[in-house]
């Protein structure tokens, strides 16, 4: 037996991440609540007063980013920094790196909180942040990696526990995803265009977006579950074998499933089918985690009744099980045809986010706070109250949205016997579900109330205890494992973190490579359409305004090959139509109608009036007003840089076009303004306003194919 060593665990960094998780949880959920109410009362967008920072389109990415990267992100680091030290019997590698990691991450969040409402966005879901922030994220993630692997290297525990396998897989996969998704060419301080266009950009996006769910919201939280649940229940983990199989199967299969976000889209069928089948094969590996969690509670169920921590964990793991069953079901094409673009998807992700991530975080916080503050939880009663209000909140959130999703989808698809759409006016399918939106807002309010109770409870717990910043511990120095006769084969890799990293990297790379490489390098995957041409400079500016305002948050640009969609919107979308779309703007939700064939559908003056006040053209519409588009001067100064950047990426603008681009845009703006005048719009000086660009872009949409 080697010498016993004395050391201390760093609790201060855990507390910092825990507090940040709670604070940003409050912020992120509050923004979510505002969005929920904006859908019922469009006046809450405030844009009618000329304030452009608070529209739904700009706040939606703020909500998703705040909840994913600020709330759950800080939750992950809290869980990792606490459990990693203890599972390895070592203090974190470097306190300095810990604090660089902490403050770096908060700075990133702050940048996001400023830049997203300001309209600086790439519009790629969960990767909206501008390129300088992307660089900062990369840097901080590397700091986290060095700190984690440094701790692993100086560990006193030879074998890595299953939680740490998940942490390692999380780290490498998020790194790969983030870097590949951020392949972009800057044209200004904050603006950039992605390397890939159209269908390829869509594939890379959902490979990223889906696996952000997998490796940011799932695997690190599974790791945390493997630590906190057996600790709180004081029971051994149900099955070591199950841990091994479900870990490797999960990380290998998850990465393939991204294309299930693109079913019935212009993506080639083979990619879609891979998304479907790997999603179905994902049920068992996902449930492996749920089973190992729930079965660990065998013999401890009596305590679940009394201990709020365990209650939170049980609901979290159950929500995880439900969401990971529902996800594969939604990947079956016949289900997806109904669910996609509707609130069904929103309900689905919130079962995961509120139930799995939210409740696991709260459970862990309630477990950690009394331990770090050397005291008892201030009030078990309040914790129970938080649990019940939160659970009720999830139910009130999810059920109305499921109902809304089904209702709207069925209305979209309903035909009269004579072959006309029963609900030809899209708006009717929106006003129909507004009562359900109201119920959802109530559910969100309940959940939010619970979180506030939780903050109070933890604050009081901290106030009555004394914080233990450095927790003394002791353990023998590490002795490399000596292979024994009855050892499980997997023990081999558990003592070798670098092999663990290497094999995880291989496991998570295969799926992405098989799907993305052929799509990028085999030209026949995206059949060319001769009449499709690059956007004019003015349309390009209009497109960037569309991106800035977050229109993609509510409007898709992807007509699926269904009879109801071709009757409603026009010919279904072809992959060759998107080759100059950087970024792609297919969207994932239709709160408003699809816009892919919007060009020529309405007169310019309709768009002009509709932008200034949607309700003047469509009474009952819940779209925000955009009067500032008619006031803002159109800034064309970046056009030459944009044209040059796009040409470098492959858009065939002729040499020297960048010098003519501004004049070209002004000439086209003049034409739009003249047309508006002829249609009776009397505003002065229209030709220099942003409205000209957005109208030019909307009128171009989907028209090339008709030439």
């Amino acid at each position: 037996m080697s010498r016993i060593e004395q050391f201390q665990y760093d609790n201060r960094i855990v507390r910092a991440f825990g507090m940040a998780a709670f604070i940003f949880g409050i912020v992120g959920m509050l923004v979510g609540l505002i969005l929920a109410f904006q859908l019922i009362y469009p006046e809450l967008n405030l844009s009618q007063y000329g304030i452009s920072y608070t529209t739904f389109g700009r706040l939606r990415p703020l909500h998703t980013n705040a909840v994913i990267f600020a709330f759950v992100g800080n939750g992950i680091f809290m869980g990792v920094y606490y459990s990693l030290q203890r599972l390895l019997k070592a203090r974190m590698f470097s306190d300095t790196l810990s604090w660089i990691h902490f403050w770096g991450w908060q700075v990133i969040i702050l940048c996001a909180a400023v830049s997203l409402p300001a309209g600086l966005t790439t519009s790629s879901e969960y990767a909206e942040l501008a390129w300088p922030i992307d660089l900062l994220i990369t840097l901080i993630w590397v700091v986290f990696g060095i700190n984690m692997f440094g701790t692993i290297i100086k560990r006193r525990e030879d074998h890595l526990y299953v939680a740490i396998w998940f942490y390692i897989a999380t780290w490498i996969t998020v790194a790969v995803l983030h870097i590949v998704r951020s392949f972009e060419l800057p044209y200004s301080m904050f603006g950039s265009y992605p390397l890939f266009s159209g269908v390829q950009d869509a594939l890379v996006q959902w490979w990223y977006g889906h696996n952000a769910v997998a490796f940011f919201l799932t695997t690190p939280y599974l790791g945390m579950m493997y630590y906190f649940l057996p600790k709180a229940a004081n029971r051994p983990v149900y099955s070591y074998k199950l841990s091994i199989i479900h870990f490797w199967a999960l990380i290998f299969i998850y990465i393939w499933a991204g294309p299930h976000h693109l079913l019935y889209s212009s993506m080639p069928d083979w990619v879609q089918s891979l998304g479907t089948v790997f999603s179905i094969m994902l049920i068992a590996p996902s449930w492996g985690g749920m089973l190992n969690g729930l079965l660990t509670l065998r013999g401890a169920w009596d305590r679940v009744r009394q201990d709020p921590v365990l209650k939170f964990f049980v609901v979290a793991v159950t929500a995880y099980g439900m969401a990971t069953f529902e996800g594969p079901m939604l990947s079956i094409k016949s289900f997806n045809a109904i669910s996609h673009f509707t609130d069904w998807t929103i309900a689905h992700v919130h079962v995961g986010a509120l139930g799995w991530n939210g409740f696991l975080t709260f459970g862990a916080l309630y477990w950690l706070w009394p331990r770090m503050y050397r005291t008892q939880l201030y009030s078990v009663k309040l914790a129970n109250m938080h649990f019940w209000i939160g659970t009720l909140g999830i139910i009130f959130y999810a059920i109305p949205l499921y109902w809304a999703g089904w209702t709207q989808s069925l209305m979209w698809k309903e035909f009269t016997p004579a072959g006309t759409l029963a609900w030809g006016n899209f708006l009717d399918t929106v006003t129909q579900i507004i009562p359900m939106y109201a119920m959802r807002a109530l559910g969100g309010t309940l959940f939010f109330t619970g979180v506030c109770i939780g903050v109070y409870n933890l604050y009081k717990t901290a106030a009555q205890g004394t914080f233990l910043a450095n927790e003394a511990a002791e353990a023998p120095a590490r002795e490399p494992h000596v292979k024994a006769a009855g050892d499980h084969w997997h023990k081999w890799i558990e003592g070798r973190p670098m092999q663990m990293l290497l094999w995880s990297t291989i496991a998570i790379s295969i799926g992405g490579l098989v799907q993305i490489v052929p799509m990028v390098f085999v030209e026949s995957q995206v059949p060319k359409i001769a009449t499709v041409e690059p956007y004019t400079p003015l349309e390009l500016e209009g497109r960037d305004i569309y991106i800035r305002e977050g229109c993609v948050g509510c409007h898709s640009q992807q007509i699926r090959p269904f009879r109801d969609e071709t009757v409603r919107y026009g010919e279904y979308s072809k992959s060759g139509e998107y080759i100059y779309d950087r970024p792609f703007l297919w969207g994932s939700k239709r709160t408003g109608p699809d816009l892919h064939r919007e060009g020529g559908r309405y007169p310019d003056s309709w768009h002009y009036n509709h932008m200034i006040d949607p309700r003047s053209m469509s009474p009952g519409s819940i779209m925000p007003q955009y009067p500032q588009l008619a006031d803002n001067e159109l800034d064309l100064s970046l056009l030459p840089a944009k044209i040059t950047a796009l040409r470098k990426l492959g858009t065939p603008y002729p040499e020297g076009f960048e010098e003519r681009a501004i004049a070209d845009a002004q000439a086209q703006a003049k034409k739009v303004a003249d047309k508006l005048k002829s249609e009776g719009i009397k505003d002065e000086g229209m030709e220099t306003k942003e409205m000209m660009a957005i109208i030019a872009y909307l009128q171009r949409l989907g028209t090339d194919i008709k030439k």
Partner: protein, 318 residues
């Protein structure tokens, strides 16, 4: 564990549901059932099947219970002492086939009392691990999904004749065309621009008004005063007044000027109702009228004709 069993069964049923729902819809092609969207068929099928499973499990349980009661009664009547301890304690031996099947394919956890046998010697910060067998039902589910995945890829890509997304679309449209033809043939609704007449009964005009507010008012104003689109209340018409011309403009639209073709969104009778309603707006003088566009239309001058007058004046715009 129970809920997991049922969820597993539901998964299997979800696979079978398309076949059943298809069978259900082909069985009743022209009833309301064919309109029943696919998803409802799914949900009903799965819910029904789940109910069926629960009912069957219940029946089996009741049966077992009654059987035991009967045995007990028989025993007490005849005075034979039933080997109680054997039934409870040695159940495994007594029912070895089913017990072993269950162990092999369904559930095989080491009981909590004996879990010391499979408990790891090592602990991680106090966490120990059991080495329970993989739950057999879970392994089976995994295998089934893998087999399903291979079959799916084979059917759609590797040699089977599964339809592509585009094929599915074409089939859907073909089928719809047939259904439409049948529906239209049996309908008095078959008005078109050659035989349409202006309706005058209040009911039809009321429906026309509702449609107008929903779809036309956006461009032509709530009172038909005209905003983006032309004024409907004056006697000037760009594409001809009178029921036949108005019907025709609604039906086919004027795409180059932004007027949508409504024929795919409104039925013929709806277009007739809204066209009739529009004619009633003549001379209503709503506030903020748009300036007149087109030419004066006199009903008697242009008798029954379905041609658009050549006097259209594009210079005035819409």
């Amino acid at each position: 564990m129970k809920f997991a069993k049922y969820l597993f069964m539901l998964l299997l049923l979800a696979g079978a549901a398309p076949a059943w729902s298809q069978a259900a819809t082909t069985a009743a092609p022209d009833s309301a059932a064919s309109q029943l969207p696919q998803i409802m068929a799914y949900i009903l099928t799965i819910a029904g099947a789940a109910l069926f499973i629960v009912a069957m499990v219940y029946v089996v349980k009741v049966n077992q219970f009654l059987y035991k009661r009967v045995l007990d009664l028989e025993a007490s009547k005849s005075g034979v002492k039933l080997p109680q301890e054997q039934m409870a304690g040695a159940e495994v031996e007594a029912d070895s086939f089913w017990a072993s099947m269950r162990k092999k394919y369904w559930e095989d956890a080491v009981p909590i009392e004996r879990e010391g046998e499979i408990l790891s010697h090592h602990d991680f910060d106090g966490i120990r691990e059991l080495d329970n067998r993989l739950p057999p039902w879970w392994v089976n589910m995994f295998i089934i999904t893998i087999v399903w995945a291979v079959a799916y890829m084979f059917y759609y890509h590797w040699g089977g004749d599964g339809p592509s997304s585009a094929d599915e679309y074409n089939m859907e449209v073909e089928e719809a065309k047939k259904q439409e033809a049948i529906a239209l043939a049996g309908m008095a609704d078959a008005v078109d621009e050659s035989n349409v007449t202006a309706l005058t009964d209040a009911g039809a005009l009321g429906e026309g008004q509702t449609i107008f507010k929903n779809v036309c008012a956006a461009c032509h104003g709530q009172g038909g005063e005209g905003t983006v689109g032309p004024n409907m209340t004056d006697e000037y018409w760009i594409h001809g007044g009178g029921i036949k011309n108005v019907f025709k403009t609604i039906k086919y639209g004027v795409p180059e000027k932004g007027m949508i073709a409504w024929q795919s969104q409104l039925s013929a009778s709806d277009m007739q109702k809204v066209a009739s309603y529009i004619l009633t707006l003549q001379g209503t003088n709503p506030p903020n009228p748009k300036e007149p566009q087109g030419v004066i239309w006199k009903e008697e001058a242009a008798a029954p004709t379905d041609t658009i007058p050549a006097t259209e004046t594009p210079a005035e715009g819409k």
